[in-house]
């Protein structure tokens, strides 16, 4: 029973980190109907940049965070303008492919500039775990969870209170109608990519700290697909709950199933679950069901 608690608590914490990455996906999909296969690579890029800045150049943490966030926002703008804008009106497979192409470019670029060896991304957090009853919680997980929660709350406020946020929701709902009421849709597209860049910066720092910075960091992007499918591709709340759920499921699978089959179920169960969800409820738990007319 204690084992179960421990697994669940840690799963939830990891799940929050998944939610943070999923947020970038959902934002872009909601506003622009593009699935960004390069989200994991953006995250890796951010992680590398962060590791180089703190490790190589010895920048203080706050400066690194500022520079990184600004840089990722600019990168988001540039990507939207340069690559995604020409793809408007192209078939879905082309749009997917262009983001896959982007992911290769980022992976190649990162290793050409910074090399393929694993780097550390140290954060000033103590190492010994907190012990709450039967549950061991490592402080770094807690910090990650707090950052994730802050981000999620921030986005929540942004989308409900700010003018821009409301405009973004309007565009997500109906592009033509929002053009009619005077929202500049291309600007909203660019903004959503910039925010996705910001989410990637946060994800890059947290995940980079957790699993080390190398090209494998980009695989986090693959892990997020089950999360967004479970929650619904166009629902921010869904991304959060999907992330939590997936974190717990992964953690439980690793705890209970791994000893039975000899490891690796963590990389398997989420996808099986995802296929099942796609069979039964393709638009996820909280997503919008699309109704098609000829």
């Amino acid at each position: 029973m204690e084992f179960l608690f421990d697994l669940t608590a840690n799963g939830l914490l990891v799940g929050l980190m998944y939610s943070l990455v999923a947020l970038g996906f959902v934002l872009i999909y909601k506003a622009t109907s593009v699935i960004n296969f390069a989200q994991g690579d953006l995250l890796m890029f951010a992680g590398y940049a962060a590791a180089v800045m703190t490790g190589g150049h010895g920048m203080p943490l706050w400066a690194m965070v500022l520079v990184l966030c600004a840089g990722m926002v600019v990168l988001g703008f540039v990507l939207e303008r340069g690559i995604l804008r020409p793809m408007v009106g192209q078939p879905v497979v082309s749009v997917i492919m262009v983001t896959i192409g982007l992911s290769f470019v980022l992976q190649g670029l990162v290793t050409i500039i910074w090399g393929a060896s694993t780097r550390e991304l140290a954060l000033p957090v103590r190492f010994e775990p907190y012990i709450v009853g039967p549950v061991y919680i490592s402080p770094i997980n807690l910090v990650a969870a707090v950052i994730a929660i802050l981000f999620l709350i921030g986005f929540g406020v942004f989308f409900t209170r700010s003018r821009l946020g409301v405009a973004m929701r309007a565009v997500a709902d109906d592009q033509q109608a929002s053009m009619v009421v005077g929202i500049k849709v291309p600007r909203v597209f660019a903004l959503s990519w910039a925010i996705a860049g910001l989410a990637a910066a946060a994800g890059g720092i947290i995940w980079g700290n957790q699993i080390g910075v190398d090209t494998f960091l980009a695989l986090v992007g693959l892990k997020v697909f089950p999360v967004v499918i479970l929650g619904g591709l166009d629902s921010i709340g869904g991304a959060i709950i999907g992330g939590l759920l997936m974190g717990v499921i992964e953690s439980l699978a690793a705890g209970y199933l791994d000893p039975l089959v000899g490891g690796g179920t963590k990389d398997f169960i989420p996808y099986v679950l995802m296929i099942l969800v796609l069979f039964i409820r393709p638009y996820g738990f909280f997503g919008h069901e699309t109704i098609e007319r000829v």
Partner: protein, 360 residues
């Protein structure tokens, strides 16, 4: 024989409906096939096995790409799982040949059929979901198949997940040299190529295209979506399975590393760069994607050694990353600049020369 048309001057319905409206087109096809058949002779004389192996690899890749193009380019169902489907075919063939002593032709057919079955299974979600969701579902298929083959010892044969097979043999003729194996691949490639061309011209192909253009409208004019979508998945995976099985017999080893996620994406890149919805385009794409890293290798190595005097070992790492980078950049370039790919460029060239030199 080489006369070209300068306009449309058909006087009979049959002439209008003919597959090749000009003798030129028919003869070009014959010449190309003849050249492919005769190709090994000069190479054999020069004893250039390396060049032969490149051509064989391209033909192998083309088979898989044609299959993927039937699914993605013609039917509009996205699949990021071609590599995994090839893996199923490859391992089926390897298991049948190495453990049960089956002949290679049986292994190829069985590989194709097993893969068709698996592909259809993963195609079932396509009845409810499309576009992005289907892309993600097939991505899951790729990861699940990869995991299962790697983690079930009965399939993967234990260490390194690889199974060795013998040289394929037919009526005592052993395909034991590079040149002999080329013919094995060539025959299957030609069957696959002309099979696909005839398929997309016929009833089935038209149904596929109707589904791609507007599936609900297609259903209303009487195309059975359920049947044709699954058929597209089955045919496409059959091609993938055959290609995977051939890979296994060609390399004489089945190894999952030849079919990982990156390979699936490579195949997608082939049909996008070659041209979606064109059988010839898939072949162009296969040629392009397979030749591109080789050409890059040669240029980078010659520049670094010739101009800067850096030995090959020092640039090898840079080269691998550069390949990745340029591969992605090429995909983006083609998608933004020429979305219809090499096949469309080829059409432009043909159109230009159609009226040449009097193109007023």
């Amino acid at each position: 024989m080489i006369s070209r048309e300068s306009g449309v001057f058909q006087t009979s319905y049959e002439g209008d409906m003919a597959l090749y409206t000009l003798p030129l087109a028919r003869n070009t096809t014959r010449v190309v096939v003849a050249l492919l058949v005769l190709l090994p002779i000069p190479l054999m004389m020069a004893n250039n096995e390396h060049l032969m192996s490149i051509v064989t690899t391209i033909a192998l890749a083309a088979i898989g790409a044609i299959g993927l193009n039937i699914l993605v380019g013609y039917t509009g169902q996205i699949s990021i799982g071609q590599g995994a489907f090839m893996m199923v075919g490859g391992y089926t063939a390897a298991i049948l040949s190495s453990r049960y002593g089956m002949p290679f032709w049986f292994g190829i057919l069985a590989g194709g059929c097993t893969t068709a079955l698996v592909g259809t299974l993963f195609g079932i979600p396509s009845l409810r979901i499309k576009g992005l969701y289907l892309a993600i579902a097939t991505l899951a298929a790729q990861l699940i198949i990869e995991w299962v083959i790697n983690h079930v010892p009965w399939i993967s044969g234990g260490a390194q997940s690889s199974i060795y097979v013998d040289n394929p043999e037919l009526f005592g003729f052993e395909f034991n040299t590079e040149f002999r194996r080329y013919y094995l691949v060539l025959v299957v490639f030609l069957l696959a190529f002309f099979g696909a061309q005839n398929l997309v011209r016929g009833r089935i192909g038209r149904a596929f295209i109707a589904i791609r253009d507007r599936d609900i409208a297609a259903e209303i004019i009487g195309v059975n979506l359920f049947r044709y979508k699954l058929l597209a998945f089955a045919i496409s995976s059959f091609y993938a399975g055959v290609a995977g099985a051939l890979w296994t017999y060609y390399l004489r080893i089945a190894n999952y590393e030849n079919f990982v996620l990156v390979v699936s994406i490579e195949y997608l890149a082939m049909i996008i760069i070659g041209g979606l919805g064109s059988v010839l385009g898939a072949v162009f794409g296969a040629i392009f994607i397979k030749l591109f890293p080789i050409a890059l290798d040669l240029t980078v190595v010659s520049v670094s050694e010739g101009v800067f005097g850096i030995p090959y070992q020092d640039v090898a790492n840079f080269l691998a990353n550069m390949q990745l980078f340029l591969f992605g950049a090429l995909i983006i370039f083609f998608l933004t600049v020429e979305p219809e790919g090499l096949a469309r460029m080829w059409e432009h060239v043909k159109r230009y020369f159609r009226l040449w030199p009097y193109s007023y």
